[in-house]
Symmetry: C2
Subunit: 192 residues, 2 copies
Amino acid sequence: MTQTNLANATLFDLKTGLSKEEKTKQRHLSDMTKMFYDTKALQEEMEAGHDALVYEYYDLDLPKTDGDIQYGTSIVYPGTVGDEYYMTKGHYHEVLETGEVYFCISGEGYLLMENPEGEWEIEKFVPGRAVHVPPRYAHRSINTGKEPLVTFFAFRADAGHDYGTIEAKGFRKLVVERDGKPEIIDNPKWQK
Amino acid sequence: MTQTNLANATLFDLKTGLSKEEKTKQRHLSDMTKMFYDTKALQEEMEAGHDALVYEYYDLDLPKTDGDIQYGTSIVYPGTVGDEYYMTKGHYHEVLETGEVYFCISGEGYLLMENPEGEWEIEKFVPGRAVHVPPRYAHRSINTGKEPLVTFFAFRADAGHDYGTIEAKGFRKLVVERDGKPEIIDNPKWQK
């Protein structure tokens, strides 16, 4: 009856989403020059020296098998570039036929999804709302509120991330602020 | 550019773990007569007419593929049978080589784990602590606190549940209250 040490545990702050035990990966405006559609507004921010932190997340060192679950938190900060809300880059999984679950624990916003066939979906994040991304759907978190949007995520640990497709083509839809409210529009810069 | 409706979302209360949108599966003392080691104490509770709710959880109707993630919450209520804390039955996955992640959002307790080789592990639950169960490990949530122990769980949707093995053999270790504190002991009734 041997005690092993294979389980992995991490303590997160339920309000900020941050953990003192691990380091986040951070994405600033300068990492996302290809993502926001209003490149002029982004340029102006950068020239004014405001390379704001847009989001951060945990990429924990866990076994990458198809039987393990990769987990962590993602924190998208409030803000806009032009009228487009702060968001994550968004990604497909390299193993395209895998989904993911996001559990919102603080803040508010949306999870925007689309598949290679151009079908899309959007789900609202409010504290306590869990959203299951179906397999084959790229997904991006968007903060439309005034507080950090904090989600806990879990996916098959071998799924991998394909950021390149979205970086090159963009999402077909965007979420922007119009008259003080979120509105879904077609992405004027979307590339086939 | 068609909008589809494949994503699934559920709103949970972050304090109670319950959702108004779905029904839980409930486990009362009478469902767990084989699980607690002090059968006499259990008998007395039952004869006194106290068929208490020990725990409840969500078994949402999601696609059961190896690319989907099954998610939900589990709520273990505070209490003891004799000196053994309220707990879940515990289970192996039918697809043994799959793990699971539990994210504690309220309450406190432990996640007890063991594999078919008899190796075991235990991890503490406090609010904000996520525990990754390694593949091959049966797992049971145990509430050692005064409040409901609420966890959000996520696992590969094809993993399935094997409750029978634990029901027949039990876990090799138990968590009991001694001098007002949790203590891990050998299960006197464990069957090889």
